[in-house]
Every structure is written in structure tokens, then in C-alpha cells.
């Protein structure tokens, strides 16, 4: 399990989630993204292309981050969901809350 943050040339923060996003590590992701938000970043992509599974705590932290980023007039996009994760977002109706793209590149192009 690992989170990576990098900023592209236009200032978008791309967060990679390797392994899983669950109750045991969600605070680490939240802290990293909030630090970037406090430092002035406003556009974020979370890339799940290397993510195996996400539990409801992981979904909850994404909802929380989305709200905090929007409060700062920022935008959060999600990318790289595999078929099972896409289904998870659809059944929880969180696909209606997030901008979701097939790849991180598509998310970057949409900003």
C-alpha cells in the first residue's frame, strides 16, 4: 500500500493509490491531499489504476476530500477505476458525485 503525489506542469496534483484504500490507511491519504490543498493546490486527480479494492471508509474519505476541495473552489477528479471499482461507485451512487474518467490523462485533459 502506497500513496504517491506528483504535480504536472499545469499544477494539477496527481495522487496514485497503490494497493488498497481502506479504514487502516485512509487518514494518510486525507492528510497528504489536505496538505497539498493548504499549500495552494486546487486541482486534483486520484488515480486508482493500481488499486485493488476500496472499502466504505475509503469511499467516505473521498467524499470528505471532495467537499473540502470544493469549499476552496477546487476540483477533484477520479480516474483509472477497474470494472469492480466502477461498479462499487455506481451501486453507492457516488458516480453521481464525482467526475470519473477512464484514465488520469483524460482527467488532466478535462481540467
Amino acid at each position: 500500500m502506497r500513496f504517491t503525489l506528483k504535480k504536472d506542469k499545469s499544477g494539477v496534483v496527481i495522487v496514485g493509490v497503490e494497493g488498497q484504500l481502506i479504514v487502516g490507511n485512509r487518514q494518510e491519504l486525507k492528510q497528504k491531499v489536505l496538505e497539498a490543498l493548504e499549500e495552494g493546490s486546487r486541482k486534483f486527480v486520484i488515480d486508482f489504476s493500481k488499486t485493488g479494492y476500496i472499502d466504505s471508509s475509503g469511499l467516505g474519505v473521498l467524499v470528505s476530500l471532495s467537499k473540502k476541495i470544493r469549499e476552496q473552489s477546487g476540483e477533484l477528479r477520479l480516474a483509472g477505476l477497474n470494472a469492480d471499482l466502477q461498479t462499487l461507485f455506481e451501486l453507492t451512487k457516488l458516480d453521481t458525485l464525482f467526475a470519473i474518467t477512464r484514465t488520469a490523462e483524460e482527467a488532466l485533459a478535462a481540467f
Binding site: M1, G19, Q20, I22, V23, G24, N25, G52, Y53, I54, D55, S56, S57, L59, G60, V61, V63, S64, K67, D84, L88, L91, T92, K93, L94, T96, L97
Partner: protein, 131 residues
């Protein structure tokens, strides 16, 4: 397989991997082990540790895995007072969609074939049928 898990949320991922990687191939497809089983077990363990045992380090969550030819059944028991699963709000209702919590049991019900609770409400049993 029996496993005692400390009431530490940081142990959930390791406990899930321990169970998932010790299931012999055949009953469940690799995809269902990778996603359905791992996600549902992480939910059940997280709920038991946080809400059941209140993250009390002196309390354990007990996991018991039954492996049969046609199903895998996982029991997760905590030391809490239990809860009434029928009284949980619908997390997909528009009023609840932006809440951070409250999706755990909803997610479990969609990932496994059967969910049952013990009478007290502090034990959950997840059944995944073969396939």
C-alpha cells in the same frame, strides 16, 4: 482457519491479506477473492474494531473461516453490544450521499451472497458461494 485480530484499524489490511492468500484455489474465482472477499472482510473487520470494540487494544476481533466445496463463509465477532442492522439509513438517498460514513453494511450486502448476524448483533457471517 481461525484468526484473532487486535482492535487496531491499522491491522485490517494485513488481516485481510492473511485470509485471502490462504484460501486454496477452486471455490472462489481469483477475481472474487481479489475484490468481493477482500472488500467485504475489510468492511466487517473495520466495523468490528471501530464500532464493536471501540478500538480498545485489550479487545480482539475473532475471525473464523469455513471453507466448503460450494461456499466460503467468514464469521467476524467482536466484544461489543451489537447493533440493529435493520435501522441503518439508506446511504444512496440524496440526503445521505455526501455523508462520510454509513456505507459499510450496504457495500457488504452487495458483495457477498448472504449476510447474517448473531442474535446479539455483535457477530456477522458473510457467505460467498462458489464461483
Amino acid at each position: 482457519m481461525r484468526l484473532d485480530v487486535p482492535s487496531d484499524l491499522g491491522m485490517v489490511g494485513d488481516a485481510v491479506e492473511l485470509v485471502a492468500t490462504h484460501l486454496p484455489p477452486g471455490t472462489l474465482s481469483p477475481r472474487r477473492i481479489s475484490f468481493n472477499l477482500r472488500t467485504a472482510l475489510a468492511e466487517a473487520l473495520g466495523n468490528a474494531i471501530r464500532y464493536g470494540n471501540g478500538e480498545d487494544p485489550d479487545r480482539l476481533v475473532r475471525v473464523y473461516v469455513e471453507l466448503r466445496r460450494d461456499f466460503v463463509r467468514i464469521h467476524v465477532d467482536d466484544d461489543g453490544q451489537g447493533f440493529d442492522a435493520s435501522r441503518l439509513p439508506d446511504p444512496t438517498h440524496p440526503d445521505n450521499l455526501e455523508r462520510e460514513y454509513g456505507r459499510g453494511l450496504f457495500v457488504i450486502r452487495h458483495l457477498v451472497d448472504d449476510v447474517a448476524f448473531n442474535e446479539k448483533g455483535n457477530g456477522i457471517c458473510l457467505t460467498l458461494r462458489a464461483g
